[in-house]
Amino acid sequence: MKGLLIHGVSHAYGDNKVLDKVAVVVPAGELVCLLGPSGCGKSTLLRLAAGLEVLQEGSIVIDDVTVASNTVHVEPENRHIGFMFQDYALFPHLNVLDNVIFGMVGSAADKARSRAMEMLDQVGMVDQASKHPHTLSGGQQQRVALARALAPEPKLLLLDEPFSGLDTNMRARIREETLGVLKEFGVATLMVTHDPEEAMFMADRIKILGSDGHILQAARPHEIYYHPKHEFVAKMFGLMNRFDSVVVNSQVETPLGSVAAPDMADGIKVQVLIRPEGIVLESHENASGTAVELLSTHLLGHDNIVRVRLASGSSSELYVRVHHAFEPELALGIKATIDSDYAFVFPLDVEEGGSSSLVKAAQ
C-alpha cells in the first residue's frame, strides 16, 4: 500500500512511557490527524516516523518499505519524507529560496531553483524569495516551511502542530490555504495537534491519542464529535454538563429527561455528559421540559453561553450554548430539554463510582 503504516509502536524516555502500542494508517493522498493533549507523545511519534528518534518497539512502513523495526533503521535522509516542525525550523543563515532549495538533493542547480520558485509561487511567497526568515511574519514562515517540506516531493508529509505558532485571526486563513495546497499535492499527510477544532477542519480521519499514550478512538471527524467512544474523547471539545445516574431498562434518567443507553446492562452506574449545545432552552408558552432559572449569559458572538440552574433548587449549574439571538431580559419561564445527539453515556470509573462490581460496561 502506498502511504504510511505504523503499528505496535511503543516508546519510552527512560522510565517515562509515552507511546503504548500505537497504530496509524495513512493511505496515499489522505490526511490523518493525531489529536491529543500536550505531552502525550505526538511529536515523538512524528519523530519516530521521520527516523529522528530510534524506534524501540513496533514497526514503521512507508510505501511498502519497512523503514524502522527492531532490525531496521533507515536514516532520516533516506526516508524521503517532508517534516514541518512546530517552530518551522527555517535555516536562519539561508534566504527563503535557499531554504526551499536545501532539500532538493541530487537535482541540478537550475532545476532545483525553478522548482523551488514554483513551490514558493504555490504558497504565495515568490516575492519574498530573497528575504531571510527572521524578517518574515509567522504566517509567511509557515508557508515557507510548507514549501520547503513539499519541494523534494516527499512520499509522506509530517506536520507537527502546524498552526500553533500563528495568532488566531490568521490561523483560519492559513489553515484553509494549507489544506488547499495539500489536497492539490495529494501527498499522504500525518498531522498532529492538540487543537480539536484544527483536527476536525483538516482531517479525513482523526485518531485520538490519550495521555496514557494509546489510541482511544479513530474515526471521521463527525463520528468523533457525535459518537465519542470514551469519556476523554467527549471531553476534548470543551465544557460538558454532567449528571450521574443508573441505567434502567436501557434508559438513563436525568433531571432534564431520559437518555438512551442501548448497550448497557441495568443497574450500571453511569455519567451522562451533555455538550452545552445539547441542552435546548425554550421560553414560549407551551414549551415542554424541566424548568430552569437563568443565572447569567455570556455573548461570544457566534453564540451565547447561558448559565442556568434547575428551578427545583438543585445547586448544580448547567452551561448551555444558544445559537439564536437570545435576550435573557425577555425570557420568561425557561424550560430545558436534552438533544440526545449531544448526550453521551459512560460507565463511571471504579474509583468514582465506588462500587466495582457494576463497572464492566457494554458486554
Binding site: T66, V74, P76, F91
Partner: protein
C-alpha cells in the same frame, strides 16, 4: 518471517559501526590518557619515594600551596566581588570605564608582573634606590622594605592578575539579579550594605564560587611566579623532583597528589553550577538602580577601582614599554620575532586542532546522545583543571610509551629503529596544549551548539542530508562566531602557557613565554621586555571581546 524490502542506506541496527561514537570516544580517550597515565605511574610500585617525600619536602609543599591558595582566594574575592558590586550598583565618575578596565589585568600573565615588580622593587631597583636617595640610607640594615620574592609577593602577584575571573562572574550574577529583589530588601528596611550582604551576595554565591575555582586552578598551575620567587608549591616541587632529582615516578606521585586538590576544586565548581541553575529563575531585567556616589565616597570608589587596574596592568605595561624602548635594538627584535614565530606556530596549530576536535566531540554527543559519550567528553574537557606540570608528566609518559612501541614494532618487522618520534618535538607541546585547553574550545562550541534547536537537525536530516552534511551546511555557519571565539581563546592561552611548554618543548626551542622566563630568571628582563609586551598584547584580544560581549548581553541585546 517474510522480510519487507529495505532501502539502500538503511542499516542493520544490531551490527551498526558508528563512526561518530567511535571517533568521539577515541578522541576523548586520547585526551584523557595523560591524566590516567599520571595516576598509573604514581601507583606503580617500585621506585617509591613516598616515604622520602613525606619526611622531607611534602609538608612544605602542602603548607605553601594551601597558604598560596587561601591568600589568592581571599584577595581575588575581595577585589573581584567588591569591584563588581561597585560598578554594577553605584554611579560614580569613570564607572563605565572601569566596567571593562577592571578586566585588563587578565591580559597579564602572573609571571610577567612578577618579573616586573621584582625588577622595580628589589634592592637595586628604582623604588628602593629612590627611597635610599631620599632618606640618605646607605644599607638594607637601616630600613625595612617588604621582600617581593616571598609567599606574600606571590599571593599579591597572582591576586592582581587573577581577580578578573571573580569580577567577571560575580558581575554577571549581579546583573542577573532582578532589581526587585534588592529593592524589596531595601523597602523591608535593610541598608544598602545589609542588602548586599544578606541578599545579593548569597544569590551570586554560585557564580563567585565558579570564579574562585577558576582562580585557584590557575594558582595551582602557576610555575613562572613560584619558580622565580622560590615559593615551594606542588608545581615547583614537581619540577624539582623531576628536573633536579630526575625522578619521574616521584614527580608523578606528587602530581597525582596534586590531582586531589584539583578534584576538590572541580567538585566545588560543579556543585556551584548545579545551584546556579536553580538560582537563575528571574528573566525580567530592569536597569539597575545606580545609587549615586558623590564627593568623598565617589572619589574612594574611583581609587578602589583604579588601584587593581593600575597595579595589575597599567604600571607593569609602562615599565615593560620603558624597558623595551631602552633595550630596543636589532638583536632583541629579531630574537623576539623568531620566538613569536614559534609561539604562533604552536598556539595556532593547537587552536585549530582544538576547535576541530571540539566540534567533532560536541556534535558527536549531540547526534548520538549517549550518556557514556557525554561523560567521556566531560572527562576529556577536565584537562583545564589539571596543572600544566602534572599534564606534562602524563604527556611525556604517554608519548614515550607510544614511541617505544612504534620503535619496537618497526625494529621487529622492518629492522629499522625509529627512536623518539614524538617525545621532545613540537607534536608533544601541541598535544599538551590540546589536552589542557580543549575545555575552552569544547565549552564554547558546546554552548553555541545547544543554542541551535534540535529541529534544525531534524529539518536538515529529513531534507535529505546526512549528519556530516548537516554539520557542514547548517551548524557550522550558525556557529561561526563561536568557533572563532573558541580558536581565539585557545590561541591566547597557548601564547601565555609556560610550565607545559618548558617541559615538553624540543631542545633549544623558545616560545615567547619560555624566552621571557629564561631572561627574567637571569635578571635580564630588559632583553625580554619586548617579548613580554607581545604576550600581553595578545592577551588583550579576549579582554576586548569579553567587554564587547558584556555590552551586548545587556538587557535588550542578544548575544549571538
Amino acid at each position: 518471517m517474510t522480510a519487507s524490502p529495505t532501502l539502500a542506506g538503511s542499516t542493520e541496527r544490531r551490527l551498526k559501526i558508528d563512526g561518530w561514537t567511535l571517533g568521539t570516544a577515541a578522541i576523548s580517550m586520547a585526551v584523557m590518557l595523560p591524566i590516567v597515565a599520571v595516576v598509573i605511574i604514581a601507583f606503580t610500585p617500585g621506585d617509591d619515594i613516598w616515604g622520602h617525600l613525606t619526611s622531607t619536602v611534602l609538608p612544605l609543599y602542602i603548607a605553601t600551596t594551601v597558604q598560596l591558595m587561601v591568600g589568592v582566594g581571599v584577595g581575588t574575592f575581595l577585589i573581584g566581588v567588591g569591584g563588581a558590586w561597585l560598578v554594577t550598583i553605584y554611579r560614580f565618575p569613570g564607572k563605565r570605564f572601569f566596567e571593562w578596565a577592571l578586566l585588563l589585568p587578565m591580559a597579564m600573565p602572573a609571571y610577567v608582573i612578577a618579573y616586573v615588580y621584582t625588577d622595580v622593587l628589589e634592592y637595586a631597583g628604582p623604588v628602593q634606590g629612590a627611597l635610599r636617595h631620599l632618606f640618605g640610607w646607605t644599607s638594607i640594615q637601616q630600613y625595612w622594605f617588604p621582600e617581593i620574592r616571598s609567599l606574600g609577593g606571590a599571593i599579591s602577584m597572582m591576586t592582581l592578575v587573577l581577580y578578573p575571573y571573580v569580577y567577571l562572574l560575580s558581575r554577571a550574577a549581579f546583573l542577573e539579579q532582578s532589581v526587585g529583589v534588592l529593592e524589596a530588601s531595601r523597602v523591608l528596611g535593610r541598608s544598602q550594605w545589609q542588602s548586599f550582604y544578606s541578599v545579593a551576595l548569597p544569590l551570586a554565591r554560585p557564580a563567585i564560587v565558579i570564579g574562585l575555582s577558576l582562580v585557584l586552578m590557575e594558582t595551582l598551575n602557576d610555575f613562572g611566579t613560584v619558580d622565580f620567587f622560590a615559593v615551594y608549591t606542588f608545581t615547583l616541587g614537581i619540577f624539582d623532583v623531576w628536573m633536579n632529582m630526575s625522578n619521574i615516578a616521584g614527580a608523578a606521585q606528587l602530581a597525582s597528589l596534586m590531582l586531589l586538590f584539583v578534584i576538590a576544586l572541580v567538585l566545588a565548581e560543579r556543585f556551584a553550577r548545579r545551584k546556579k541553575r536553580f538560582h537563575q529563575t528571574t528573566t525580567t531585567y530592569k536597569e539597575l538602580p545606580g545609587y549615586e556616589l558623590g564627593g568623598f565616597k565617589g572619589l574612594l570608589a574611583v581609587v578602589v577601582c583604579a588601584l587593581p587596574v593600575v597595579l595589575g596592568f597599567v604600571l607593569p605595561s609602562i615599565v615593560l614599554s620603558t624597558y623595551a624602548v631602552l633595550h630596543f635594538d636589532k638583536e632583541v627584535v629579531s630574537q623576539m620575532l623568531e620566538t613569536a614565530g614559534n609561539s604562533l606556530l604552536l598556539s595556532g596549530t593547537a587552536a585549530m586542532i582544538a576547535v576541530i576536535v571540539a566540534i567533532f566531540m560536541a556534535y558527536g554527543v549531540r547526534i548520538k546522545g549517549s550518556p557514556v559519550l557525554k561523560v567521556m567528553t566531560r572527562i576529556a574537557a577536565l584537562g583545564y583543571a589539571v596543572p600544566g606540570s602534572v599534564l606534562a608528566v602524563g604527556v611525556i609518559a604517554v608519548l614515550a610509551s607510544l614511541d617505544n612501541s612504534i620503535d619496537g614494532f618497526m625494529r621487529e618487522n622492518f629492522g629499522v629503529s625509529t627512536g623518539l618520534l614524538f617525545s621532545g618535538t613540537v607534536v608533544a607541546v601541541i598535544f599538551g596544549y590540546l589536552v589542557r585547553f580543549l575545555a575552552l574550545s569544547f565549552g564554547t562550541v558546546e554552548a553555541s551548539l545547544t543554542k541551535i534547536t534540535p529541529n534544525m537537525d531534524g529539518a536538515a536530516r529529513t531534507l535529505g542530508h546526512g549528519p556530516f552534511e548537516t554539520l557542514r551546511r547548517v551548524h557550522m555557519p550558525l556557529m561561526k562566531t563561536s568557533i572563532l571565539t573558541a580558536a581565539m581563546l585557545v590561541f591566547v592561552d597557548g601564547m601565555k602557557e609556560l610550565p607545559l611548554t618548558i617541559i615538553l618543548r624540543p631542545f633549544n626551542f623558545q616560545t615567547l613565554a619560555t624566552y621571557v622566563h629564561q631572561f627574567a630568571s637571569d635578571e635580564q628582563l630588559g632583553e625580554a621586555s619586548l617579548a613580554a609586551l607581545a604576550i600581553v598584547g595578545t592577551g588583550i584580544i579576549p579582554v576586548i571581546l569579553l567587554s564587547l560581549m558584556i555590552r551586548k548581553s545587556r538587557p535588550g541585546h542578544e548575544i549571538t
